[in-house]
Amino acid sequence: MTSGLAILAVDDEPRALTDIKRLLETSASVERVATATSAKEALVYLSGGRYDALFLDVAMPEIEGMALARLLRRFADPPAVVFLTGHPDAAVEAFEVQALDFLVKPVTRERLEAALGRVEQHVRGAEAAKTAPSGDGAESPAAGPDVVAVDNPKGGGKRLVRLETISFAQANGDYARIVCEDGRFLLRTPLSQLEKDWAATGFARVHRAYLVNLKHAVELRAQLNGTAVLIMRDDTEIPVARRNVAALRRRLHA
């Protein structure tokens, strides 16, 4: 990020759009603000220029904000998404689409600046990831989400789980089984995707079937056959594939 942020604000309510535009324009971290009153118009803007983040209303006619956010995830280099809504209950769904933040209208200056701070961190991380040498298994500095929405077996709804409380994720077909301080949950995301999404938050793929939060690891125990076992805080033993042992040892000793 060489200068201030470029933001595209999208809301079908013209007055709400005016309000967020004024707030964004008067923030020191923002250089440029464009506005769109529909998801279709937003896509036109995105096809014609680069934006660091979308401030996106959830409820809009024709294409809703959440649908646009899902569409953006297919982009090679998507802008960060910060949701705006009058519906506080939409937060869970927002985290499902990896939104960077979720603001309830009307937005306070303090809350907006916090969201912009996250956008700046995200942009800096993405730029560093582009310039950093790859292939050594080093942790990406890109900022990731700090919360994930998992299937809640009680009641069938969604439950928010903070990444820092997750000990490890285990592959389960196209799903991942999440083991955290609050229990075990299913997440409808393959482990390979979680590996990318959570790389910046201290997770490492130690085995084909295991993605581990290294902050929860307490011991790396070598095995005679060249593999290893990672001992977690709760004494769970996670197998470490032979090809991952050296890189993992370097990370733990770094």
């Binding site: 079908d12 309510e13 013209p14 007055r15 709400a16 759009l17 005016t18 309000d19 967020i20 004024r22 529909s38 409820a59 809009m60 006619p61 024709e62 809504t85 009058g86 519906h87 506080p88 309830v104 209208k105 009307p106 937005v107």
Partner: protein, 163 residues
């Protein structure tokens, strides 16, 4: 505290948090460029909430009609130039009391549904019948196009017929 007395409505339709937050966002947007409008929007929101947060009770037809008018003016503040409104006069309404919010709540649901599904202008017409109100939503720029119609029974909650 329970404000109910025998014969009063057992339920008060809930106020939409989404609506209140979006009205506040609209009010915030007017503060710098048009403070008088910002003040008016906040005053109308205060009136709206006062009508609905005073607990279950019946109100006069004039009070509920005024509440409907306040609600629609708040929607017009959110969406300037998009909403045309046609309301009956008090003398056209049934004379019996009605539950607070009993007419506004279904009207609000219909308007929200419409605004969430359509762009462009909408005409909101509420017409009095003997024991009900007919709500018609349509696009003034598309004559002949079928809009949305809803019959809102008058005074069901007030008469204790709605659980």
């Amino acid at each position: 505290m329970d404000h109910r007395t025998p014969g009063q409505s057992p339920d008060v339709p809930t106020v939409s948090v989404h609506f209140v937050n979006n009205v506040l966002a609209a009010a915030a947007s007017y503060i710098e460029e048009d403070p008088d409008t910002a003040r008016d929007v906040l005053a109308e929101l205060g009136s709206f909430l006062s009508h609905r947060l005073r607990g279950p009770r019946t109100v006069s037809p004039a009070e509920e009609l005024d509440h409907v008018g306040v609600y629609l003016r708040l929607e017009q503040a959110r969406f300037p130039g998009r909403i045309e409104v046609e309301l009956p006069t008090v003398s056209e309404l049934p004379s019996t009391p009605v539950g607070a919010g009993e007419i506004q709540a279904p009207l609000s649901e219909a308007v929200s549904r419409w605004m969430g599904a359509h762009t462009g202008q909408v005409r909101v017409a509420l017409r009095a019948r003997e024991d009900a109100l007919d709500l018609q939503l349509d696009r003034p720029d598309a004559p002949g196009e079928a809009g949305e119609r809803l019959r809102i029974p008058w005074g069901l909650a007030a008469a204790g017929r709605v659980a």
